[in-house]
Amino acid sequence: MIEITEAPIDHAALTERVRSNRAGAICTFLGTVRELTGDRQTLALDYEAYPEMALKKLAELEQEARKRWPIIEAAIVHRVGHLDLGEISVVVAVSCPHRNEAFEACRWLIDTLKQVAPIWKRETWADGSHEWVHPGLRGP
């Protein structure tokens, strides 16, 4: 199950959604808005997505993960819009027969999502300045 949403994410409901009598392990990852990056203080994050492509890429990730691990159910939900400190930006929930598979699949999904999904975040720092986060992009 794949979703991009502006609403707060109910992580417990997603964990519940992937539960199954065939699963012996469920791994749920939450990404949350952190206040400190080194010594810089974040006030808030704004997320933006290219929705059509992001949904397509997330669906491809789920398919690829299902080829690699015996996934029973998976849920990948990313939030967009304005998020305050501590709020949940992303949830990846995976159920598998055994815990190693669940850990590996969940970790691969969030790691790969961060590399390929067309989603961006903009920092609002404590001094009120804004900055898009673009790893590897040189200045103008």
């Binding site: 997505a49 992001a54 961006w120 673009h134 790893p135």
Partner: protein
């Protein structure tokens, strides 16, 4: 690559009455039409390219001559308006004869936007395999321009009855005509009226909408931009045009990821009309 080279004659002294302004100077893809025609001929292997312009005293004479020269043509400016295309051709044929007669030449009116280097090359190659033939392209079901004429027939043009055009040669020598079918119907699409021009503009300058996100959106100040370029094109070509038409994105253009129809593209990826294109700065979700 072909090494076949024959001269080209480009009559560009028409009065453009129905268009209402000089056709050779109409801008196509950022250059005057006469420049587009001369460039296609030169890239296709024609050399030299002789352009016959209106006389110097006509308002459009000097600018047409200048545009033709800039594209690499040799210019012939007659003292008086040539009455017909045939007369322009005769003036150029006379000059070619003085410079040492060629085996033939390619005759291309200065108002055919559909001419391309490939079409010119096909015609010259076909002509080289059948010396002495008249080679005529056929597009959209009919004969069109440009044509290759052998020199012995070209010399007959001045002796044709006054009311006849160059087509009379084809009628008189059907056994020497070779038609080649070209898969470019627009080659036969004439440019005579403002409506024709509008149709050509739409055909040549497709508009591509590009979606922008994050820093790209911020730099452009909007979520979508439009780019004018002929389609289909490649992502590599798009990068160049993007930097030229939207300087605020020029720093991103060479290296930013580009998505075509929701897939990460390579520089070789083809962009077809109707494609969904987006700039994808380095992602930071999660």
């Amino acid at each position: 690559m072909s090494s076949i080279t024959i001269p080209a004659i480009v009559p560009a002294a028409g009065k453009s009455r129905r268009m209402g302004r000089p056709k050779p100077l109409l801008p196509f893809d950022g250059q005057p039409l006469i420049g587009r025609v001369v460039t296609a001929l030169r890239l296709g292997g024609a050399s030299p390219v002789l352009v016959v312009t209106p006389p110097a005293q006509a308002a459009e004479g000097p600018p047409i001559a200048e545009a033709a020269r800039q594209a690499g043509a040799a210019v012939i400016t007659p003292a008086h308006w040539p009455a017909e295309m045939r007369e322009s051709a005769e003036i150029a044929i006379e000059q070619l004869g003085r410079d040492g007669p060629p085996s033939g030449f390619i005759l291309a009116p200065g108002d055919i936007p559909g001419i391309t280097p490939e079409i010119v090359r096909w015609l010259l190659e076909r002509s080289a395999k059948a010396p002495g033939s008249i080679v005529i392209p056929r597009a959209a079901g009919r004969r069109t321009h440009p044509i290759v004429l052998p020199w012995d027939l070209a010399r007959q043009i001045p002796t044709l009855p006054r009311h006849q055009g160059i087509n009379a040669l084809m009628t008189a020598h059907p056994e020497r005509v070779i038609e080649i079918e070209v898969a470019h119907p627009e080659l036969a699409d004439e440019l005579n009226t403002p409506e024709d021009l509008e149709r050509w503009r739409r055909r040549l300058r497709s508009v591509l909408t590009i979606r922008l996100f994050a820093v790209a959106r911020e730099r452009a100040g909007r979520a979508e931009i439009e780019i004018n370029l002929p389609l289909p094109t490649t992502v590599a070509e798009l990068r160049l045009v993007l930097a030229l038409q939207h300087p605020e994105l020029a720093a991103l253009a060479p290296s930013v990821s580009i998505a075509v129809d929701s897939e990460y593209a390579t520089d070789a990826t083809l962009i077809l009309p109707g494609a969904q294109v987006a700039l994808i700065p380095p992602v930071s979700g999660g």
